[in-house]
């Protein structure tokens, strides 16, 4: 009996472990080694920290890095602020018959690929786009305005892309919130804001944190949206990595950047968990 269980465990665990090891751990070890290698003056590969030193010595790198981190946190926060009323409406206000339908509407845009969705936004927002066309027609604008290629549009695009990953955990967190808790708080004299900050948010904390982790990681690692919707000044750190690998063909430098991004995301998530006093295992549940 005992052996049977052990065999079953090995049987089911092996593919997962193999997958993790071959596709995630091995390449990362290789990248980590690569990030400490540089070409010396004679064209020989030697061990060095210079890939990492480059990052700190060249302001454009670490400025992009900080910018990406700050914008990712901002996007995560904005996504949360937008998704909370949506999730609240779906779970507590809408009649139960429409809940499934509304959740479906939320999901629907994600049936098409991110690329198509971003192009959709570009058709709407560009100088000769739909919105400009209507604003001109209505006489609100004299001449078309370029709404693409700036930070505001990029952040909006990133929030739009991330909405689903915040609203789904929020919906499931709010579903488990007993309506009578909200009513009890109301009855005890609470206004809307104290109900929000004392009851709804503390109750949905695990959902908020897990949604935030997903949104933050997806945004930090996003390449498409910042690249297509952001302007020349809206550099994203993933674009730096891409440039190193593809444009400069400097894999060693790219690997170092990749690891810095990994450290950054782990650090921010760790800090977020500490600040909200949540445990990673609890949040994943």
């Amino acid at each position: 009996m005992k052996y049977q269980i052990r065999w079953a465990l090995i049987f089911f665990l092996t593919p997962v472990l193999l997958w993790l090891f071959l596709l995630i751990v091995l390449p990362h070890i290789d990248l980590l080694l690569m990030s400490f290698r540089v070409e010396d003056d004679y064209g020989e590969m030697t061990w060095s920290f210079s890939n990492y030193m480059n990052f700190f010595n060249e302001p454009i790198y670490w400025l992009t890095f900080v910018r990406t981190a700050v914008y990712s946190i901002l996007v995560t926060f904005l996504t949360f602020v937008t998704a909370l009323p949506v999730a609240f409406y779906i779970t507590k206000v809408a009649s139960p018959r429409f809940q499934g339908f509304l959740a479906m509407l939320l999901l629907l845009p994600f049936w098409v690929s991110e690329l198509v969705r971003v192009y959709g936004w570009m058709i709407l927002l560009r100088e000769s786009g739909v919105i400009n066309h209507f604003l001109l027609r209505l006489g609100i604008l004299d001449r078309p305005v370029e709404m693409l290629y700036n930070d505001v549009t990029m952040v909006m695009g990133l929030v739009y892309t991330s909405m689903l990953f915040m609203s789904v955990p929020l919906i499931s967190a709010l579903e488990s919130l007993d309506n009578s808790l909200i009513e009890a708080a109301y009855d005890l004299g609470a206004d809307m804001w104290s109900i929000l900050f004392r009851i709804i948010i503390p109750h949905s904390m695990p959902g908020i944190v897990s949604g935030s982790i997903v949104v933050f990681m997806l945004t930090l690692g996003n390449y498409l949206t910042p690249n297509l919707m952001g302007g020349k000044n809206s550099l994203w750190f993933t674009e730096q990595i891409y440039n190193q690998f593809i444009a400069s063909f400097n894999w060693n430098q790219g690997a170092a950047f990749g690891f810095l991004l990994l450290v950054l995301s782990s650090l921010v998530i760790w800090t977020g968990l500490k600040l909200t006093r949540q445990k990673l295992t609890g949040v994943i549940k």
Binding site: D187, L188, D191, R198
Partner: protein, 365 residues
């Protein structure tokens, strides 16, 4: 006058949940609204708390009209059926929640929380989490959380329903004592008649959206105003029949549909030939009454089963020659230990014990 409800009506999509209800509750009274599930008592309570606005009628608290005032601005507090304690907070934070909303000073809050915890018998429980408490302790925290705000009226929505029987019996007595101590007006809704009868000063019996009778527990039991009250409050044996003859001393001769003849007291105006419902409490029936006692309706029954339940034991019996089932109180004083199933015994009941209603009232029941 702490609470006055006048002609309140609430309709949900053609369904009259509360139909023209009026009542008043004096300061410091324990008032219960007793009714079967779906009778509209929860809707009525939620209208007093402010969660639902009545379609018609006025709710006044200490003379102030409550129309359009939201729950967080009303001087009433509600104890929810499942208590709705905030699981993310400690006991002390739960109790302090309302005081913080009133922007009281921190030191005052701490002191008030301590005092109310002592009052409900949970001193030193402030730092506990809600899930560390037992059912009875949670109950007390829920009461403390409302009482600390000094509400004019405390509303209770069947808060004892989730407790097991033993604890419920205990909490009934405790709640009654607590109410007497603090002197706050309590409005308690329940479908459990024993909760209502034990704790209340006044009980309103509610059925299909309206009040059948508002009275003291004793009067509800002994002088039910409608057939519904007679059936709902306490157990009753019911017969339907016709009046054969009215006597001048307020009694009448009745023949039941099974052909049994009874002599009973009547209240109100009846005529010979009127159809009536006759109710009789199980304890109004005497088992094997002394032959010397006069003025009893005497007849013979066959014992079908002995329903032993301690002090509340009954006999289930058929009057002879019929399938009508009757409940007869079986006092546990060992005098009747010889009674076995299928025994034939004589039963007698006093003319004054019968309760009679014209059958036309029956449709409400």
């Amino acid at each position: 006058m702490d609470l006055s409800v006048q002609n309140v009506t609430k309709v949900f999509q053609e369904f009259k949940a509360v139909d023209n209800v009026s009542f008043e509750v004096q300061e410091g009274h324990f008032f219960s609204i007793l009714g079967p599930s779906g009778c509209g008592k929860t809707t009525l309570l939620r209208m007093i708390a402010g969660f639902i606005e009545p379609d018609l009628g006025v709710i006044q608290i200490r003379g102030a009209d409550m129309t359009g005032i939201p729950p967080n601005k009303r001087p009433v507090n509600l104890i929810f059926q499942h208590l709705a304690l905030f699981p993310m907070m400690t006991v002390a934070q739960n109790i302090a929640f309302g005081l913080q909303r009133q922007r009281e000073k921190k030191a005052d809050i701490g002191e008030k929380v301590e005092r109310i915890l002592k009052r409900v018998g949970l001193p030193g429980f402030g730092s506990k989490k809600i899930d560390q408490l037992s059912g009875g302790q949670r109950q007390r925290v829920a009461i403390a959380r409302c009482l600390v705000l000094n509400p004019t009226v405390l509303l209770l929505d069947e808060p004892l329903g989730a407790l097991d029987l033993k604890l419920r019996e205990q909490m009934k007595v405790e709640l009654k004592k607590l109410q007497a101590q603090v002197g706050t007006t309590f409005i308690y809704i329940t479908h459990d008649q024993s909760e209502a009868l034990v704790m209340s000063d006044y009980v309103a019996v509610m059925n299909q959206g309206s009040f059948e009778q508002v009275d003291t527990p004793q009067n509800l039991y002994h002088k039910p105003g409608t057939p519904f009250v007679a059936r709902f409050v306490g157990d009753n044996n019911a017969w339907t029949g016709k009046i054969r003859r009215c006597d001048n001393d307020g009694t009448a001769e009745i023949v039941t549909t099974e052909g049994q003849g009874f002599h009973t007291k009547i209240d109100g105006v009846f005529q010979a030939g009127d159809e009536v419902d006759l109710f009789l409490r199980p304890e109004a029936m005497l088992i094997q009454p002394d032959p010397s006692v006069s003025g009893l309706n005497r007849f013979e029954v066959t014992v079908r089963a002995i329903l032993f339940d301690g002090a509340n034991s009954r006999l289930l019996a058929n009057p002879h020659d019929s399938d009508v089932e009757m409940l007869i109180a079986l006092p546990q004083n060992r005098q009747y230990d010889h009674i076995r199933e299928n025994d034939k015994i004589e039963i007698g009941w006093d003319v004054k014990s019968g309760i009679c209603f014209p059958t036309s009232l029956h449709e409400n029941a």
